[in-house]
């Protein structure tokens, strides 16, 4: 390759949300950018639910709605608590979400990432697919100065390397820049793509004209593990999946595909996907460690962004927007350092961390810093016991069988106390409130 002789302003490793945001932002500011993607095309290694948040993409590509492959804009969110035969739900649907510039969209990542990558190329970056970066190159002072790949040829040099290599990125962990994620701070999610005609999806969920609905569910579907089920409506498909902490999978030896098949067969889900054709089965890790799992984000000649930096809000199920925003902010910091002709040292790249701390990314993660530990240590209570109690209470309330109402209420209260004790109920409530605060 001729370009090996060239030196780049920046090398970006990975063409997911954070890598594309970083590459696009730097190239738009005139930096000479080289981006590597190990997949056949951008998106071919990437998995997401997926919900995309407009505000964070607007900050990078303001007119994205003109040509981005968007599936449905969301008008309804259903939060379900499930036991084996029921769901108790809180639904929020609003006509206000039918606006000129909707706030949230479902997307299909392989298509979206190809679109984003076209924007990156149009902005002037060079994108090399089917290329796995195998090693970071360092100088005598240990500064990262380039990379080696599995293509023929030697090292390729740049002033700074942006590690956007995803949740289980090998390079940064092998180079000792950060630790590998712990089993209790990553979730394994599996999902299937269920295809159905557009009008069937709209009938089943009461949608019209590109409107979308998502369901997110906790309960006995995760079999006592800390986990979440999800169903997202796309234009002509439904993304259906479930994820639980890897440490819980390892402790219980549950099979993720068995959980997924049981979810598909749940009486509340089965009719929603009836008659669908499954066209793909995917698995991916999701960072769940929150604020306390964020690693060192910058060093001499490098920064880390997106899932590789564990930037994911497990409580609000937001990841791609944190990825896009961290990629954009890292790029803006690099552009600033470059403009004042500063070297890409740890001392200068701290600017990325300073800017990220001021953004919603770090502020949101800080707010929920105690939530991962709480949900992990109390998973059976929060994901099995309470969902079962909630279902019993609801059924007791709905079913009319001649039992005096006062006795029904007493029975519900007694069931709660029997399951968790008075102290347990109060303590769970207080701990949840503190972690939420």
């Amino acid at each position: 390759m001729d370009m090996i002789a060239e030196k780049f302003d920046a090398i970006v490793i990975g063409a997911g949300m954070s890598g594309n945001a970083a590459a696009y932002t730097m190239a738009s500011h005139g930096l000479k950018v080289l981006q590597f993607e190990r997949g056949e095309y951008p998106g071919s290694k990437n998995v997401q639910g997926a919900i995309m948040y407009a505000n964070m993409l607007e900050k990078i590509i303001p007119d994205f709605r003109d040509d981005a492959p968007l599936e449905r804009h969301l008008v309804e969110q259903r939060l379900w608590v499930m036991d084996d035969t029921s769901h108790t739900g809180m639904h929020y649907r609003s006509e206000d979400f039918n606006e000129a510039k909707p706030n949230r969209y479902t997307i299909i990542r392989a298509q979206f990432d190809k679109w984003f990558s076209r924007k990156v190329r149009a902005a002037g970056a060079t994108v090399l697919c089917e290329t796995t970066v195998t090693e970071l190159v360092r100088d005598a002072k240990d500064k990262v100065v380039g990379v080696r790949t599995d293509r023929a040829g030697g090292a390729i040099f740049a002033d700074v390397v942006i590690l956007a290599e995803g949740v289980s990125g090998l390079l940064g962990t092998r180079a000792g820049l950060r630790e590998m994620p712990k089993p209790q701070s990553v979730a394994l999610a599996v999902k299937e793509m269920h295809f159905l005609p557009e009008d069937v999806i709209e009938q089943r969920f009461g949608l019209k004209g590109g409107e979308g609905c998502v369901i997110e569910a906790v309960g006995t579907i995760s079999r006592g593990m800390a986990g979440l089920g999800f169903l997202y409506t796309n234009k002509e498909s439904i993304s259906l999946g479930i994820g639980c902490l890897v440490s819980d999978f390892a402790a219980t030896m549950q099979s993720p595909y068995a959980l997924l098949d049981a979810l598909k067969d749940h009486p509340s889900i089965r009719p929603l996907i009836a008659g669908s054709e499954v066209k793909e089965y995917a698995a991916h890790l999701i960072p769940e460690g929150g604020y306390k799992a964020i690693p060192q984000l910058f060093g001499d000649g490098w920064v880390v962004v997106g899932d590789a930096a564990q930037l994911n809000n497990a409580v609000h199920r937001e990841g791609s927007n944190l990825a896009m925003t961290s990629g954009r902010i890292a790029a803006e910091a690099i552009v600033q350092v470059k403009r004042r002709n500063g070297p890409m040292t740890k001392q200068n790249l701290v600017l990325y961390k300073t800017m990220l701390n001021k953004s919603f990314v770090v502020k949101d993660l800080k707010k929920y810093k105690d939530m991962p530990a709480l949900l992990h240590t109390n998973s059976r209570n929060f994901f099995t016991t309470y969902p079962q109690l909630m279902s019993q209470a609801a059924q007791n309330f709905m079913r009319v069988d001649g039992t005096p109402k006062i006795e029904k209420e007493k029975a519900t209260a007694a069931a709660m106390i029997k399951a968790r004790s008075r102290w347990g109920l109060v303590s769970d409530a207080v701990r949840l409130a503190l972690a939420w605060r």
Binding site: Q48, D84, A110, D113, P183, S255, P256, A282, A283
Partner: protein, 98 residues
């Protein structure tokens, strides 16, 4: 739940697109007498069921159906029980939808 679930992950993997790098598996299991709890767990936890127990009670891997999620790496790389690398550029799982 009373529903009987068939554990046929092959049917799921059959939907996927792969470019297998024949003869160059990207994951290797270190030879062992008896697997650790985590390594044994992979026979159930791996979402592609790549790990299987052989007749001698040792865990073996066939990585062809691997979706490169990294679960096994998180559980078993630090102990040295498995060696995990990315497939060569362009090879491995190629998600159509992702």
């Amino acid at each position: 739940m009373t529903v009987a679930v068939t554990l046929r992950v092959e049917e799921k993997l059959y939907q996927n697109r792969y470019l297998v790098d024949s003869g160059r598996p990207h994951i290797k299991v270190r030879p062992h007498e008896r697997p650790s709890a985590n390594l044994l767990g992979l026979t159930r936890v791996c979402p592609a069921q790549c790990y299987e127990l052989n007749d001698q009670g040792q865990v073996e891997i066939t990585a062809d159906g691997c979706m490169e999620c990294g679960t096994c790496r998180v559980l078993c790389e630090a102990s040295g029980e498995i060696e995990w690398n990315y497939p060569r550029g362009g090879f491995g799982i190629l998600f159509k939808f992702g």
